[in-house]
């Protein structure tokens, strides 16, 4: 788990770049039969209905959120938590993608490791506490 960077606040102002405190999470994919699985589920996307997302603070947020984490899976081991918003996957932006594009970015067969940038509520506070 890498230390934190990009310290800024969460609220989304239309037209302005989104800034957030993020956490780097590196997940090593697990081989299960013929598939490489990560051990979590995603929801959200540009083509989805943002009002039904239970985890987002702002109900117009069309980002990708982690909806489930399988216990003892690679994601849980790496520190991913339910409700996290995924900002980047391996350098690719995930805040303005469709649901299917997000799924494709996460499940590339050639990659064994995915490096995510995730944000969640409480990260900013934790940063402030750590700095005091």
């Amino acid at each position: 788990m890498e230390p934190f960077d990009n310290n800024c606040t969460l609220p989304v102002v239309p037209g302005q770049p989104v800034t957030a405190v993020v956490q780097r999470i590196e997940i090593h994919k697990l081989r299960h039969a013929d598939n490489l699985i990560l051990g979590f589920s995603i929801g959200g996307g540009m083509d989805q209905d943002p009002g039904q997302n239970p985890f987002s603070a702002d109900k117009t947020d069309k980002g990708i959120y982690v909806t489930r984490v399988t216990p003892k899976g690679p994601a849980e081991v790496a520190g991913l938590k339910m409700g996290d918003k995924i900002m980047q996957v391996n350098g690719w932006d995930m805040t303005m993608v469709t649901h299917d594009q997000a799924r494709k970015r996460l499940t590339k067969k050639k990659e064994d490791v995915v490096r995510l940038l995730v944000t969640r509520k409480g990260l900013e506070q934790a940063v402030k506490n750590a700095m005091m």
Partner: protein, 530 residues
């Protein structure tokens, strides 16, 4: 063992609001019946039923004058000659004033005959005038008339048929039995009669000057003149239909009618009518919509009001001083004291009403059971049983009399609890029972007319307590209804308060929707596991 007990009950009609000037009849129910312990065989019951003597309360009294609506203490002085006018209207219309002078001199009965004779004379004039126009030249100067062939014959036929159509139309529109007698003259009818008279007179005038004086030879012209008169009559009849029948069909007012004694309210939709015609429509609907007026139900609130007043006594300690201010301060002191007093009458009312409710329900249960049991004893005779001895075969009236005693007591008690006992007399109940048996009605159907008070019309005429009506209005009764018009229809025991509200002007605008613009998207929320 036969037990015979005589049980006499008197109707407890005591709710009289205003003295004794009414002409309805009161009947005293007196009946004796026996209660038999064993109801299996009919021959052991002894039933003696005395028909109640019907006695008018104050002998033969003339109906109270309809114009009498002043205070009670002046009542004796204002019972003057019977007129049909309401003294409260302030109309100054000429037509109305003329007919009012006529009315005051001849009275109500003559007024009806006068209008009837006038109408008959006018009708005769209308029908005989074209025929006179046609016949007079043939009589006075037949040799000078030019013969006219088929054209005249065609015109004769058309005159005949148009007169026939006019006769049928007048019969349909005007010759119906009158439903009411209104206080003031019917303005539209008077105007139409005047119009017809003017038309006929002007035709006669022209006929006299142009045709009789100069002895015109063109007979076809004369016939066409007569035909034009009949055509004009038909058009006036069309105008009569529009004014008298069609104009008030479209509803544009909603009137709220409230009975002053118990607050029963109904709403009706009326078109453009004058106040007196609206009153007539409302009264016709009163008899079939409002439940019958029952003064016995109002005694409870009256006794409560009396108790309120009797609770406080005011003594003037300072001696007879200034009377005006003493009166005012006295009433204010009473109101203040009444407000401060810890009054428990609401408590009493609550428990009394709950108690009454329970009592009514208990009596009703007993009544229903008694009636159901009574109905099981009688059954329609089948065809195969014709060989039964004639003593056992009964017609409906006898069957009703046979089963009535077993339910009479329960019914009497129920009616007394709901204070309806004066609305139903013994023979009316038996008649109703015979009717129900004849028509194969169930006990529940028989009881329906006693469980809820029905509309006034369903009861006999003497129970209505609503036969002489007076229209009390601030505006003239021939003026038309307007938004906010209020008037009163007074009867002896109560009055109907009528208020009018106009229908709003409706502004309707349109919005066009392209059928191709109905497009939809799905609200997705998918979850993928990776």
């Amino acid at each position: 063992m036969d037990t015979e007990s005589t049980y006499s009950g008197y109707s407890y009609y005591s709710g009289r609001s205003r003295g004794s000037h009414r002409h309805s009849e009161r009947s005293r129910d007196r009946h004796s019946k026996s209660r038999s312990k064993d109801s299996s065989s009919r021959s052991e019951k002894n039933v003696t039923i005395n028909a109640p003597p019907v006695e008018p309360l104050l002998g033969d009294q003339p109906p109270p004058p309809p114009g009498d609506d002043t205070q009670d203490d002046n009542w004796g002085e204002t019972t003057t000659a019977v007129t049909g006018t309401s003294e409260h209207s302030l109309s100054q219309e000429d037509i109305v004033r003329i007919t009012k002078d006529l009315e005051e001199s001849v009275g109500l009965g003559c007024r009806r005959y006068l209008s009837l004779t006038l109408g008959l004379l006018l009708g005769l004039l209308v029908f005989l005038t074209p025929l006179a126009f046609l016949v007079i030249p043939q009589v006075l100067w037949p040799e000078r008339l030019q013969p006219c062939g088929t054209a005249c014959e065609g015109l004769f036929i058309s005159v005949a048929f148009k007169l026939l159509i006019l006769l049928l139309a007048v019969w349909a529109l005007f010759l119906r039995s009158p439903r009411a007698s209104l206080p003031r003259v019917f303005v539209f009818r008077a105007l139409l009669a005047l119009l017809v008279l003017l038309l006929v007179l002007s035709y006669w005038l022209f006929y006299g000057v142009r045709i009789l004086d100069s002895q015109d030879e063109n007979y076809q012209g004369i016939v066409q003149y007569a035909v034009s008169l009949v055509d004009a009559m038909l058009f006036i009849h069309y105008l009569a239909i529009v004014l008298l029948e069609l104009r008030q069909l479209q509803p544009c007012f909603s009137v709220c009618v409230t009975r002053s004694t118990d607050g029963e309210t109904r709403h009706y939709n009326l078109g453009q009518l004058s106040i007196q015609r609206a009153a007539m429509v409302i009264l016709e609907n009163y008899y079939k919509d409002f439940p019958v007026h029952n003064p016995a139900l109002l005694t409870a609130s009256k006794s409560r009001a009396a108790k309120h007043l009797a609770g406080l006594k005011v003594y003037n300690v300072d001696g007879p001083g200034n009377n005006a201010t003493a009166g005012q301060s006295q009433s204010r002191a009473m109101i203040a004291a009444a407000a401060r007093r810890r009054d428990t009458s609401h408590n009493e009312l609550y428990y009394e009403e709950a108690d009454h409710e329970r009592r009514v329900r208990k009596r009703k249960a007993r009544l229903v059971v008694a009636v159901e049991e009574a109905f099981t004893h009688v059954r329609r005779m089948q065809e195969e049983e014709l060989k039964k001895p004639p003593g056992e075969v009964m017609d409906p009236r006898e069957a009703a009399q046979a089963i009535f005693p077993s339910m009479a007591r329960a019914l009497q008690k129920y009616l007394r609890t709901t204070r309806q006992q004066h609305c139903h007399s013994m023979e009316s109940i038996q008649k109703h029972l015979a009717f129900c048996i004849t028509n194969n009605m169930t006990p529940k159907a028989f009881l329906e007319s006693y469980l809820t008070p029905g509309p006034t019309l369903q009861y006999g005429r003497e129970r209505w307590m609503a036969s002489q009506w007076t229209l009390v209005s601030e505006a003239s009764v021939t003026s038309s209804l307007r938004d906010g018009t209020a008037f009163l229809l007074k009867c002896i025991d109560f009055s109907l308060v009528v208020t009018t509200k106009g229908m709003p002007y409706i502004r309707l605008s349109e919005e066009f929707i392209d059928p191709k613009s109905h497009k939809f998207v799905l609200r997705l929320q998918s979850e993928t596991s990776v």
